[in-house]
Symmetry: C2
Subunit: 343 residues, 2 copies
Amino acid sequence: MNSSRPVTIKDIAKRFRCSPSTVSRALNDHPAINEDTRKNIQEYAREVGYQRNEVSLSLLNKKTATLGVVVPNISNYYETAVIEGLHNVLQPMGYTLNICVTNESYILEKEYLSKLLSNRAEGIFLSVSQETYDSGYYEHLEQVIQRKTPLIFIDREYEDFETSRATVDDYHGAFAAVEHLINMGYKQIAHLKGPNGLTVSEQRFNGYKDCLIKNGMPVRDELIINTNFKVESAILPTKRLLEMDTPPDAIFGVNDQVAIGAMRVVKDKGLRIPQDIGLVGFDNSPISAYTFPSLTTVSRPGRKIGMEASRLFLSQLNASGDFSHESIVLPSELIIRESSLRI
Amino acid sequence: MNSSRPVTIKDIAKRFRCSPSTVSRALNDHPAINEDTRKNIQEYAREVGYQRNEVSLSLLNKKTATLGVVVPNISNYYETAVIEGLHNVLQPMGYTLNICVTNESYILEKEYLSKLLSNRAEGIFLSVSQETYDSGYYEHLEQVIQRKTPLIFIDREYEDFETSRATVDDYHGAFAAVEHLINMGYKQIAHLKGPNGLTVSEQRFNGYKDCLIKNGMPVRDELIINTNFKVESAILPTKRLLEMDTPPDAIFGVNDQVAIGAMRVVKDKGLRIPQDIGLVGFDNSPISAYTFPSLTTVSRPGRKIGMEASRLFLSQLNASGDFSHESIVLPSELIIRESSLRI
DNA sequence: ATATCCAATGCAAACGTTTGAAAAAATTTA
DNA sequence: TAAATTTTTTCAAACGTTTGCATTGGATAT
């Protein structure tokens, strides 16, 4: 008849014919408890596998030690690196991360935020979904603000939303990548762009465009084709590029996946990298160093972003009433490898 | 002075000079509430951004609708696919997934399990860490069992632990991969093995070994070298293999990452794939189809594993007292691509 | 005018824990 | 032995919500 109901402090109290308070104090090593009582109770508690019900404590203390991490997906290297960074700082402080994957859906994002608030998460790290961008709705964020729950944007962001944010300098990373291609003598640089509307996509695109302009090179619309960040989404666009009358002699991919997809198509065509076609990606994913040829790319400090975001959260938490939000932009770094190194 | 304390039912009750019960019923559309009262209360609640405190409800109902997912890491394609599968089934049912990354650490795994139990998670999906394997300790799992919290193993497992589990048939996948290499005429097949002790590593290794034996081929110890699953860990081992007096003519990597690392080294050596060296990976990661040459691999149904694990959880939940644990083994599938297709 | 009935609301307990203050018990002091 | 002191334990409230049961007040029927 030993039901699966977890042992409570009351159960133990009954067993020892004492009050719950005594048990609670005994378990917490309160000084005003008789040594014997304490030992007996602790021993018994261990024996029966007592485990403090944190739910009741959360209710009592209004502290859940839970943080929400809301991201569009976790299948990319960068996202997992960010989570690792958050984790490294916050886990040792006793926080539990509640990772929510929106799958780029607005509705899921909204649901998750509601749920996190209902569950009294003490802070939320958010990388907004594609759909949220597209729709432009952000009432679901207002609830978070209204409830004064610290909200930290990671990576993607609403430009005009007043919160803290930790992002990577995509613009200058892209700029440096394209400038490098120009320095290598490439003349017609194509861009496999990310989905429209996303800050990440647009920032990188802007870096690409501005770099061309600054260097007196034309921005050819037909050399800019959209992808969805995934490797297979680069295949057709790259084919199209290579079949043009005046095809590009270099391709800047919005991320490594896309660049690797392009690499495959280029090689299938029998073109040589970097001699015939230069190639640059973005992210410095682990595999980029081991493709053949290895891929020039721009590294994003994902772990650092996570750690900085944690810092922002903590400072907001400790802040008294008036708190000015911070925007942290970490630099990205060009990593030159074989795919663009034309001698 | 508007403190950030969330609005409670009591606050609303005070505002309307009624009892909390009335507010609760009004918000939950209880029929015995006056229509006007209901409307007024609901409107006011929306206005002030009332949000039900789920913590208190959890305490009251002893239901948290929270499930723990404890995995060594989330940076691989497979793991995220599993999580996606779990998510797809369980999120719509109202469950929140609490994803915990142990980073292959025993201590973290133990801490997370304790925490999940303390937070009254209603079920736990576990892929045990490397350290847990190595140490052989599993008292931390006993607590879970003792508390009768459904525990489902995903992917990795203790062979002799009585729970439900959903795993992939790594053995036959590896067997098929090696048999394919043999059919292609490769004679000296090396194996870049995963870390010792992990079921995944050992199953694949066994598949490799048994296939060689069954085909009357020698198992040469010097052709079996350990890696840690990561791309860079394949570099030195592969170099060593290729510098041997009688080097292998094929390499079976424990996963795609390792195979891709090997691919790089082989190409650097000026050897041709698949003519000089055949190559097979494991996982069917998105990129494996787009390497050059594309990588023959074994696909693991990660999403399906997640969905099956969910099913196991649900059936255990609905089971009355006596419940016999299920072991589900999903087949893996050989995907033949260019890297092994010698004509 | 009184009994009957129904609609609407309030009361109180419960979930598991902590904690300040009060009470009880044990010990020391005079 | 009584008073004073110290040690140990209990009481009660609190956290926010739900819910069975009791209560209220008004309307209807007799």
